[in-house]
Symmetry: C2
Subunit: 156 residues, 2 copies
C-alpha cells in the first residue's frame, strides 16, 4: 500500500490528532514535562493502514490504543521535526484541525528553543495546548495553577 | 478551498459512508425502493469543507444530519454514476471502507440494469447491502423475509 501525500493529509484531517500532554516528572527542572504527540487511531481491521502510514512517515510506533483499537504514535521531537511538520507544511489540512496543527507546531518551536524547560515556558505551552482538541483541560489548568503558586513561593 | 482528489479520498476513507437503504414504497412495482447514498458527516464548524466537497463532486446537498452535525449527501443515481464512482475508481480508498465502496458500486450497477425493480433483484441487493457498514441490518433482513413470503404467496 503506497500512500499519496495528499491522501495522508485527507485521512489525518478525519482521523488524526495533534496532542500536547503536560505530565508531572520530578526529574525535570520545572517538575513538569511537555509531551507532544501525533497519533492516528484505527480499529484493528485497519492496522494495515497504520503500518502504511508508519512507513510513509518513516517513524512512529503502532501499538494498542484501547480495546480493539490501534494507533500509530509519533512522540520523538526529532521525528516530529524531521517528518511530521514538513509533511503538513507541504500538504495542508483543510478542516478546523489545521488550527490544532498550527498550535502543535508552535509548541514544537518552543521546545526546539528549550523554552519548555522554564516555568514561564511551561505556562505558555499550557495556555496554547488548552485551546487544542476541544477536550477537558482541567488537568493542564491545574498544573498551571500549581506552577504559578510554586513560582510565587519562590519569588516572594 | 480547492481540494486535491487524493485528499478527498483520504478524507472519505476516514469520514465518508457508502450506504444503501431499502424503504417501503407502495408506488414501486415490488413495494420496496432501493436508496443508495454517499454521505460525509461533519460538525458544523467544518461545514466549509462539506461545501468544498460539494463543489468538488459538482453535486449533492449540504443539510443537517443531527444536532450540530451537517452532511453532504449524494443520492441521485445519475450523479453517483457521473461523479462519485469515477472519482473513487481513479483515486482509490485504502481502509476497509473500500469493500463498502465495491459493494455500493455493484448495487449501482444492478440499479443501472433495472434489476432492483424485481423481487429477486431486491433480495440480491439486500444480501449485498447487509454486509456493508457493519451496522444492524435487522430491517433489511425483515424486508427480505417479507418479500420472500409475498413471493411464495404469489407463486404457490
Amino acid at each position: 500500500m503506497n500512500l499519496n501525500p495528499y491522501w495522508v493529509s485527507g485521512f489525518v484531517d478525519g482521523e488524526g490528532t495533534f496532542y500536547v500532554g503536560i505530565n508531572h516528572n520530578s526529574t525535570m527542572s520545572v517538575s513538569y514535562q511537555v509531551l507532544p504527540e501525533f497519533r492516528i487511531v484505527q480499529h484493528k481491521r485497519d492496522i494495515g493502514v497504520l503500518y502504511a502510514l508508519k512507513k510513509y512517515f518513516q517513524c512512529g510506533v503502532v501499538r494498542v490504543n484501547h480495546d480493539d483499537r490501534y494507533e500509530l504514535r509519533i512522540r520523538s521531537i526529532k521525528h516530529i521535526n524531521d517528518y511530521v511538520l514538513p509533511h503538513f507544511d507541504r500538504y495542508p489540512l483543510h478542516t478546523q484541525k489545521k488550527f490544532d496543527y498550527i498550535k502543535f507546531k508552535k509548541i514544537i518551536g518552543l521546545i526546539n528553543q528549550n523554552i519548555h524547560l522554564s516555568e514561564d515556558g511551561i505556562i505558555k505551552i499550557i495556555d496554547i495546548s488548552s485551546t487544542m482538541n476541544r477536550k477537558d483541560k482541567t488537568k493542564a489548568q491545574e498544573i498551571k495553577r500549581l506552577i504559578i503558586g510554586e513560582y510565587k513561593v519562590h519569588t516572594c
